[in-house]
Amino acid sequence: MMDTLLDVENLWVKFPTRQGIFDAVRGVSFTLGRERLGIVGESGSGKSMTGRAILRLIRPPGIVEADHIKLEGADLLTKSEKEMRAVRGQRISMVMQDPKFSLNPVMTIGDQIIEAYRLANKSSKSAAYAKSIEMLNAVSIRDPERVMRAYPHEMSGGMGQRIMIAMMLIPNPEILIADEPTSALDVSVQRQVLDIMDKLVKERGMGLIFISHDLNLVADFCDRVLIMYSGRIVEVCEADKLHQAQHPYTQGLLNSLPRLDAPRDRLEVLRRDPEWSETASVSGRI
């Protein structure tokens, strides 16, 4: 039996609009152990909202409702905003899609990492510096001393993303939520970033929630996959069995990909069945 890090039961995310309440996430339940859990779906399927709702990062007027979101038994929904701050970044970290918008453009990389480290640990500046260099090495950045002095605009996308991951890992969180961490990167760099995250999950026993729209990547990288459609989970499967998925939506997504080994004149276009968004969410609990 795998120990459960995170337990989400009946999660809803709602936004009041002029046309009535819009439900971005509708009754999603899942658990996360020490594993790599993938969440896939198209844009607008609610996958990013699920990740943000766990950290209670949805701002008013958005509303997060759930029976519970338990982090090792403690319900995050009953915590005060101050207590949440001790959770965010320290126990659950999040890596966002685009490093360009997530790093402070007017602070050097070094100052930002040191700041993150000293928030989590009481330590002197020089100890924090040494630790930061070590973290940059851990995410395979060459010449970390130079990078520490550099500003974010001097970094390429792949380096920026690795710096983000280094910053997120400093407090040694139990859970890492990665929201499309590689979609801004080239295929060759993509692999490197994934390898780094993979290593960290294995070595530190972290739980990873990997949000992505790339089915092949998720099939390759994760242990378990939740497939989301219009705010609900339509299917849960083992990642290596994704290609034998049963739900017509998952099959449709897989078929709409062009493939090198199987050329076709026309690509299949996904035909949406209104029934998909009506059927109740599948549970992602173990």
């Binding site: 844009s43 080239d186 295929v187 997504l253 990909l257 062009p258 050329p263 004149d265 690509l267 996904l270």
Partner: protein, 246 residues
């Protein structure tokens, strides 16, 4: 007959100490009616080649020939009637405060068409959008619909050569399939020639007949799609790229 001939193309930015050579001695040829792909990682200069052809990167040397006419630094109006471009990000390439009708109407007017009203209707039908989208603004459209508008705008002057800069990389896979099908249909209907940039080898494998692999501003290999499918790349870098994407 060749539609586009690029020979010894150099493109650079900056000067002296800050000079960056984005494209170095690139040469390739695209036949009439062909679909040619450019692949490589970001920063390899593939988009810069398109921008140089289009006149958006002013510092270049070498020769570019479209049809039978060599391209000069100052491009005549006739050039833009022949060559059009579709950009990567449909969220950034449409004017946020112009309706679809205004976007297409302005392009048609600039190219001197008289029957604008009928042509706007036809263009929208061509890209599968229909009349109800005619008076919408970009924020009222989804990503796929915006890209269709951008394609309609590129088709407005009835070009022969379409430059596609990662036309589907900002879209979902299901929408990507729709747009790729649309592009394939349009090529057949209007007898278009495509020059397509993508970092996704499977997309290029689906759309193109031949492709060039770029690295650090240089074309390292030109091969046809059959060789790509058989993973018979000869250059080590293209092999590496193939392995990473399978």
């Amino acid at each position: 007959m060749s539609m586009l001939n690029v020979a010894n193309l150099d493109v650079w930015f900056g000067r002296d100490r800050d000079r960056v050579d984005a494209v170095k001695a690139a040469s390739f040829e695209v036949a009439q009616g062909e679909s040619f792909g450019l692949v490589g990682e970001s920063g390899s200069g593939k988009s810069t080649i398109l921008r140089a052809i289009m006149g958006l990167a002013p510092t270049w040397s070498g020769s570019i020939t479209v049809g039978a006419t060599p391209v000069t630094k100052k491009r005549p109006k006739a050039f833009y009637k022949q060559v059009q471009m579709v950009f990567q990000d449909p969220y950034a390439s449409l004017h946020p405060r112009h309706s679809v009708d205004a976007v297409l109407g302005e392009t048609l007017q600039l190219h001197g068409f008289k029957d604008i009203d009928a042509r706007v209707v036809k263009l929208l039908d061509d890209v599968g959008l229909g009349q109800k989208f005619r008076f919408r603004y970009p924020h009222q459209l989804s990503g796929g619909q915006r890209q269709r508008v951008a394609i309609a705008r590129a088709l407005a002057p009835e070009p022969a050569l379409l430059l596609l800069d990662e036309p589907t990389s900002a879209l979902d896979v299901s929408v990507q399939a729709e747009i790729l099908n649309l592009l394939a249909d349009l090529r057949q209907e209007h007898n278009l020639t495509y020059l397509m940039v993508s970092h996704d080898l499977s997309v290029v494998g689906h759309m193109c007949d031949r492709l060039a692999v770029m690295k650090d501003g240089e074309i390292v290999e030109i091969m046809d799609v059959a060789a790509l499918r058989a993973t018979k790349a000869t250059h080590p870098y293209s092999q590496h790229l193939l392995q990473a994407s399978v």
